[in-house]
Symmetry: C2
Subunit: 220 residues, 2 copies
Amino acid sequence: MPETDAGPGRRTPLTRERVLRGAIAVADGSGIDALTMRSLADELGVKPMALYHHVANKQEILDGIIDAVFAEIELPPPGTDWRTALRRRALSARRVLRRHPWAAPLMESRTAPGAATLRQHDAVLGTLRRAGFSVPTAAHAYSLLDSYVYGFALQEAALPFAPETAADTGRALLARFPSERYPHLAEMVTEHALRPGYDYGDEFEFGLDLILDGLQRLLR
Amino acid sequence: MPETDAGPGRRTPLTRERVLRGAIAVADGSGIDALTMRSLADELGVKPMALYHHVANKQEILDGIIDAVFAEIELPPPGTDWRTALRRRALSARRVLRRHPWAAPLMESRTAPGAATLRQHDAVLGTLRRAGFSVPTAAHAYSLLDSYVYGFALQEAALPFAPETAADTGRALLARFPSERYPHLAEMVTEHALRPGYDYGDEFEFGLDLILDGLQRLLR
DNA sequence: ACCTGAACACCGTTCAAGT
DNA sequence: ACCTGAACACCGTTCAAGT
């Protein structure tokens, strides 16, 4: 809601910071498609054109909020063994990407990585190098870890198995398609995904640990 | 001009098929943002409103082309051992997603999976179950494999390390940010990514094989 | 049955002007 | 220095009509 304080000088002035924070709020609340220069201006209690004094264009807003999301991800804690450190960072990244489901798909369009993004990359690569991974192997390891984290976030954002509606969606799927045609899918849905307490999000740690096991093996 | 007779200059009638094929052509050629009802109509030599006779709205087009992309992915060949079969399917998926870089990020918005999508899921799950994986483990395995494939596709579409421009982008990165601030990133770029012949795409098989190794270990 | 023109309510962005 | 109104060239989609 726009601040309706009387007195022209009392309004918090717009800043790049506030523009980006507002953009994240709109995207979190109403989805990335609902983030328009106009809706963002409304959110900030301002006219659309005011935004252009703090940001060159919409693309810069998108780049900015992607980097802000990266800044929310915990850096691998230094002074911890590499496996624990990278595990923590991966869990943090996944938590952050679940909070901002629009972020992972948006990364496709990011052209220039921001400072927080570069800092993340540097910290993860540093952790791997100090653990004894060679430069090429560190490249492999980083690519693998981050592909998994982003891909999982993508699936979590997309999959019809959203925590609360999983049962309904699963049943709707089964209703639309005869289970004879997709027997293994039907088995998975009825015997696994529809079970009370099932949460797709729980799959994350399985894959993460399998990957970390595999990387650890490379060091010996 | 009554041109109702079958003549040489007659337009092929619009079909849902042709609409989707045209949409993929526009997205491949000019990017997903350039795919509008109007640009698609132009591509098909028709007025925008004609599209609505074959497709309910733009969202249906997006759902349709995502499913068409899934249809391009090779199913795991039956009668082959599970590891070879899933490896082939993953390589095929990755090839398809590189051909259509707009596809992976778009999957976030897909609401109702199409027939080709369900068929893929069923075939992969079937391969895993026949290999001896339990239902919960098959769920783990599938989540891990596909997260990796989609995440890799996402990174490949996003990363500034595009094959041809890798060197330029890498150097531009180094120029914008002092290498003292991101020493490990600088090391990676200069000693690895900028080397002639480096192709980020080559990282794919490393991660894939590590994952398959880990899954194989679960069977013993 | 299939296609279209005109119109509506939206977009991002520019320009010139207001305080 | 910061904000805005009006305007432009675009969107997706509806409606009523054309062949």
